[in-house]
Structure formats: C-alpha cells, structure tokens
C-alpha cells in the first residue's frame, strides 16, 4: 500500500520538475528577447528604412522588412485561403465520407504539412526558374503559400468535420444546393475555427525564413511591386546578426522583439476574433 503512494509521489515530483523545465525554458526565451531587444528598440526601427551604411552601424530601421513581411505573408495567406477553403469544403460537403479521393487528399496534406520549409524554398525557386521569375515578392508569395496552405487546409478540415451532418440536412431540406449550404451554413458554423486556421498559418508564414531566402530576395527599399525583391523580418534578423558589428547585432535583437510582438498580437487578435464570431455557432 505504501509503496504505491511512494511511487506516485516520486513520479509526481518528476512530472512537476519536467513542467518547470519546460516552463522556464519558455520564460527564458521571452525574457532573453525582451532584455536584449528593448535597449536597442527605438522609433526609427519601425519607421525608417535602412540608410546607406545601416549594416555598418549607421542610422535607419527595418520598416522595409516589416512592410515586406506583411505584404508577402498577407499575399500568401490570401492565396492559401482560396486553395484551402475549397479543399476543406469539398472534403466535408461534397465528397462521400468513404471517398478514396478524399482519403488520398488527407494523406497528401499530411505529407505537405511535414515538408520542411527549406524544401518549399528550393521547390519554389525551381518553379520560378521555370517561369522565368527572379527573386521577388511574387516568388516569396508562391513559396510561403505552399508552406502554409497545408497548415490552413488541415485546420479547416478539422473544424468542418465537427459540423453536425444534421445541420447540413436542415439546409438541404429547405432546397439549398450544396454550394449554398457550404458557404452559408458550413462556413458560418465553422467560422471561428476557420479564422484560427488562417491566423495560425499567417503566423507560421511571417516567421519563416527558409522558404523566402532564395525566393523573395531582400531589398532595402519598400516596394509594392510583385516583381521586385522584398525584405522580410526573419531574414532581416538573420542578416543583421551575421554582421560583425555589435550595434547592428543589437538591432537584430530589437528586430526579433518586433517579430515576436507581431506574432503575439496575431495570436491574441485571433482569440478575440474567435470569441466574437462564435456568437452564432450551434452547439
């Protein structure tokens, strides 16, 4: 009897220790980024583009990378939505439950989910060569869209699978087509989940460097053209860290802080949106 209790106590202790390790690592990361990033933070960082000699320590900021990242990831997210929504709707509204096609599609999405972002970078670059594109905003959008569309599709598929079949039937019974049911009932019922899938994918996209390293290039100017190279935040961090100048490296920490804040804002924003759009959901 007592040995049972002792065993439980020991394991409980180990579990608490493990949790503390995990917890402290996480806190340590945030603390490090905050402590290192805050001193180098200033308004110039987020309002100016790099001036001549920026990477040698002269003045300027990373507005080019902030804007570039948002444009690039925004574009990629938009493209992914137009790919993911039809996939998820087809799987859950049109296809039979036992459809072989959908089984294959789901396996494919699993595979695509796991494909490393560097492979998407290399594959995207191959496509660009094929199309005669050079490193550009468009190239980056293609690569990041490839990276995040499986994340988004799987998220959407998962929430749409939870929509009760009877709800679809209620709509069919009123004479609605599958398409009308998909757009007006399934999308609305799954809206919170769809939004969160979109935002998670956006977060993944904005933080990824390996997929844009060859495809988007880098530019010190802000540009809105699809065919010009665009700067991105993760690469800006990477390049600044790579310089031998401490002032520039410190700006890398500040840039890391900016990226972290953006990602956190998205995460918090998604929570608020989800709560807001859950109003009509039928339990």
């Amino acid at each position: 009897m007592r040995s049972r209790k002792i065993e439980e106590a020991i394991f409980r202790g180990i579990m608490i220790a493990a949790t503390l390790v995990v917890l402290s690592c996480s806190i340590l990361i945030l603390a490090t980024i905050l402590i290192k990033g805050l001193p180098a933070m200033n308004l110039d960082m987020i309002t100016k583009t790099p001036k001549g000699g920026y990477y040698l320590g002269k003045s300027g900021g990373i507005l080019n990378a902030i804007v570039g990242s948002i444009l690039l990831t925004g574009g990629a997210t938009l493209v992914s939505i137009f790919l993911s929504l039809p996939v998820a709707l087809y799987a859950n509204v049109y296809a039979d439950k036992s459809s072989k096609l959908i089984a294959f599609t789901r396996v494919s999405l699993d595979v695509l989910w796991g494909v490393p972002s560097i492979v998407y970078g290399a594959f995207g670059f191959t496509i660009m060569l094929f199309l005669g594109l050079k490193a550009s905003l468009l190239g980056g959008i293609i690569a990041v869209a490839l990276l995040i569309f499986p994340i988004m599709s799987r998220g959407m598929d998962e929430v749409m699978r939870m929509v009760p079949k009877e709800l679809l039937n209620s709509s069919y019974a009123l004479g609605a087509t599958r398409f009308e049911t998909a757009l007006k009932v399934v999308v609305r019922q799954a809206l919170p989940g769809i939004l969160s899938a979109v935002l998670i994918a956006f977060g993944r996209g904005i933080g990824d460097a390996a997929s844009v390293i060859f495809t988007a290039g880098f530019s010190d100017r802000i540009n809105f053209s699809l065919f010009e190279p665009a700067a991105t935040l993760p690469l800006a961090i990477f390049f600044q860290l790579g310089t031998p100048f401490p002032e520039v490296q410190e700006r890398a920490y500040a840039s890391a802080l900016i990226l972290t804040i953006i990602v956190f804002l998205i995460s918090i924003g998604s929570r608020i949106l989800i709560r807001r759009y859950s109003k009509h959901v039928i339990k």
Binding site: K97, N169, S170, S171, Y172, A173, L174, G175, E180
Partner: protein, 253 residues
Amino acid sequence: MESTSHITVQNLNVYYGDNHALKDITINIPDKQITAIIGPSGCGKTTLLRAFNRLIDTVDGVRITGKVLVDGEDIFDPRADVTMVRKKMGLLSQRPYPLPMSIFDNVAYGPKIHGIRKKKVLEEIVEHHLKMASLWEEVRDRLHEPASRLSIGQQQRLCLARGLAVEPEFILADEPTSALDPKSSLYIENRFRELRSQFSIILVTHILRQARRLADYIVFLYLGELIEHGPVNEIFENPREERTREYIRGVIS
C-alpha cells in the same frame, strides 16, 4: 374527403449497403391530412420520410429502386431538380437544428435562397411565418439575436417557421416532439392541427396516443415492410393484420 394524392410511392426499395431497409413499398399519401407513420424502432420510418425529400441521397452507399411521384413527377428521375423537390417539403427533425445565424436569418434563409431579395418582403415573410409557428410574440424584440440562444422548444418552432417560409406543400416531421417537454409538445401538436387545412403533413411518431390524437391516416411499417395503412379509426379500432393489432396493444414494440 377527396382521395387524390400528391405523393404516390410505387415499389420503393431502399438498401443501405446490404441492409434492405424498405421493401417494396407502394402507397398513396392522402392530401391535406395528417398521415402518421408508425412502427417499431428501426422499421424504416425515418428512411421512408427521407425518401420523400431525397435527403436519403446524402447517405453513403445508399441504393434506391422504384418511384416516388410528387405532383405526378418521379423525384428520383435523374433529370429532376432535387432542390425543387425539397422546396416542396418542409422538414422538422427529431432535434431542432437551427442554422448558425440570427433568428431572422434562419427564417429568411430559404426565401433568400429561392430568390427573394427585397428586405421589406423578407421582413413580411419572417413575421408571417413566425406567427404561423406561434413564435412571433416571444421573439419579436430579439430577431437579430443568435438562434442558438432560444430554448429547445422555441428552436423547434423556429425550425417549423423556417420550413414554412419556403411555402412547401408538405410538412415532413420526424418525431418532432421527442426532444421537447410536454408543454412545448402540445404547442407543436396544436400548430399541426391548424396547419392541416393548408398542408399535407406526414408525421413519424413513436407515441401511439399522439398518432391517435392527431392523425387522420395511419401507415404501419414493420421490419421495412408496409403492413397496413388506412384511416385512423380503422387501424386503431379494427386492424386487419395480426401484427398491427399486436403493435397497437403493445405486444411488439
């Protein structure tokens, strides 16, 4: 009473995979009356009801032979427009499933889909049908709240209003009171009595007393076969078949 029929079933067979769920059903459903489909659990009542509006199509691996004529046209004809078939039938299911939108939009959903765009007209339609389902008084001030906030009984009446708003000829109801409390059930039953003059109502029920109270015509199914059908008094007072008698007396269930 007239004996013309707008729903005629001819040699209908339904198979779920290997399961022969409806066996060679042939029947005329009388107009402007309440027809109750009764029978023990699993005998195919829901299946028959769902054949009428072709919701059965949405089941995986289902196979159907035979004909269901609605207004003289075979609804299983490949050329038939399934949305138009369904528009003729309002459905009330066992548990209410309001759509994920406001009370107003729930009722307006059907008319909107079928092409009515004018706000004024939609408002009239919503008010009219909520009144028909006797829900108007309770929700007139909260039309734009989510439908999920209504009580179950209210939700069921909302589903009734939603079904009526597409101006169907038939109302199909699958044990519409089984999830409701006695008071809400009574509400629905009273609605049905009033609607009987305008619609042909087909009601699946487990409650024999409800069938007796409400129905004009009874269809008795047993293990996928149509055993007996006829006016309510005939079936309850003087059934021809032994199995009907036993079911009504509660020997088989």
